[in-house]
């Protein structure tokens, strides 16, 4: 029974929450830029409008890939709510990310192709870091299962502070916020037009957007695990983290993929290493 409720929460509530977070994101960004910005439920209007558009396609692979992306993102969130295995959640989420890249590669537009290449570099950058964060959680709690984290008495942030920063890197890359927004980016920050999402339009772009909401909820959920001992802790931690994300997004300019791969791997892998050795030593 509880499982059914959690599944429904994962499937229905998570995207609503994700959309709301996206709306708050735009509102806060506007506030940083001395503007008013759209209402917080703007993303829902965006997605509804997109569903009502004519279907315009370059090929049928885009359709397949958009659907599988949403399915995988939804499944990973449901698994998260069901407190399943962290590595499994990562790999299921990767199914969606990879299909999205494949859909982008399948379009013969240069913007799509270059965007897809860059998205692969982004995946390459964050995936090992997230695996190492999960290994850190394993060393701290003795299991990869999320249920174990909730049975701890001390917040994970205490033993895994550096790994939380590494997770922050991964979060920034996954959310495609500046300086890591070269494969595609929010709103109108064009470099490659819309990068690998250029050829997705109408209802399929709406599906991709909903998939992205699921992923935002998943990643913020992962952040929340680091203070799983109290509700106040979760809200404060996730709130501060997301605020920092928006701040960094507004303050930094878009960089290059070489810089990202070099600096994030250098910082991320070394911080992970230090934290993991720390855990081993305890």
């Amino acid at each position: 029974m509880r499982a059914v409720v959690l599944v429904i929460m994962g499937v229905v509530v998570a995207p609503l929450l994700g959309g709301l977070i996206a709306g708050v994101d735009r509102r806060l960004t506007a506030w940083f830029q001395s503007r008013y910005g759209p209402p917080v439920w703007q993303p829902f209007f965006d997605v509804a409008k997109l569903f009502g558009k004519e279907r315009l396609l370059v090929n049928t692979w885009q359709v397949v890939c958009a659907y599988i992306y949403v399915t995988a993102a939804m499944l990973s969130v449901v698994l998260f709510f069901l407190q399943s295995d962290l590595l499994l959640i990562l790999f299921v989420q990767a199914v969606g990310a990879i299909f999205l890249v494949m859909g982008a590669f399948s379009a013969t537009s240069p913007f799509s192709q270059v965007g897809a290449n860059r998205e692969l570099i982004q995946i390459l950058t964050y995936e090992p870091l997230i695996i190492l964060v999960f290994v850190g959680i394993y060393l701290a709690t003795g299991s990869f299962k999320i249920s174990e984290i909730y049975s701890q008495t001390e917040p994970l942030l205490k033993s895994l502070p550096l790994l939380y920063i590494v997770l922050g890197y991964a979060l920034t890359i996954k959310l495609r916020k500046s300086p890591f927004d070269f494969s595609t980016s929010h709103h109108a920050h064009q470099e490659l037009v819309k990068g690998f999402l250029t050829e997705y339009s109408g209802p399929y772009l709406a599906l991709v957007e909903i998939g992205h909401w699921y992923e935002v909820v998943l990643i913020l959920g992962l952040c929340s695990l680091f203070w799983a001992t109290s509700w106040v802790g979760i809200i404060v931690l996730v709130g501060i983290t997301y605020l920092c994300e928006i701040l960094i997004d507004n303050v930094m300019a878009r960089m290059t993929w070489r810089w990202m791969l070099g600096s994030v791997w250098a910082m991320g892998l070394s911080m992970s290493f230090v934290n993991l050795i720390w855990l081993h030593g305890r």
Binding site: Y36, Q42, A48, K53, E54, S201
Partner: protein, 149 residues
């Protein structure tokens, strides 16, 4: 089902994404369009985003006289916009070719190539006028039939 359709229809007005194309303009109108996006006018609070991609756009703002070189591009861009869409011609040049109408390379007005829904006169039109034009254009989305007259 009907509630959903009504919500989608409402969303078309609440979230118009625009594509801005300079079809041979002196950039005066273009600067005014971009001024609308700045914090002073802040059209993003109406949900308007300047996407650079016709496939994502609902609203097409065209400036400039249109010449024999870029008329194909204009037609191509409109063809790659999914329905429902509205085309707004800005400035005197966009309406009829403005002062450049007699030049040999000028086609003279956007509506000679693609059907236009709203004309915003001015040289350049003020941001308020452009916003007014966009709002008029959005009313098209609420009409019973989505096809053009």
């Amino acid at each position: 089902m009907d509630a959903l359709k009504a919500f989608i229809k409402k969303s078309r007005i609440k979230s118009p994404w625009l594509l801005h194309f300079d079809c041979g303009s002196c950039n005066g109108c273009d600067i005014e369009v971009l001024a609308c996006l700045t914090p002073v006018y802040d059209i993003e609070r109406f949900g308007i985003i300047n996407v650079g991609n016709p496939k994502h756009a609902d609203l097409f703002l065209v400036t400039g006289t249109v010449n024999h070189r870029n008329k194909k591009v204009l037609a191509n861009l409109v063809a790659q916009m999914p329905d429902p869409k509205v085309v707004v011609a800005l400035g005197a040049c966009g309406l009829t070719g403005g002062v450049f109408r007699e030049a040999y390379n000028v086609v003279g007005g956007v509506d000679k190539i693609v059907p236009v829904d709203v004309y915003v006169p001015g040289c350049p039109p003020k941001p308020e006028a452009i916003i007014d034009g966009v709002v008029t254009a959005l009313r098209k989305f609420t009409r019973k039939k989505d096809d053009r007259p």
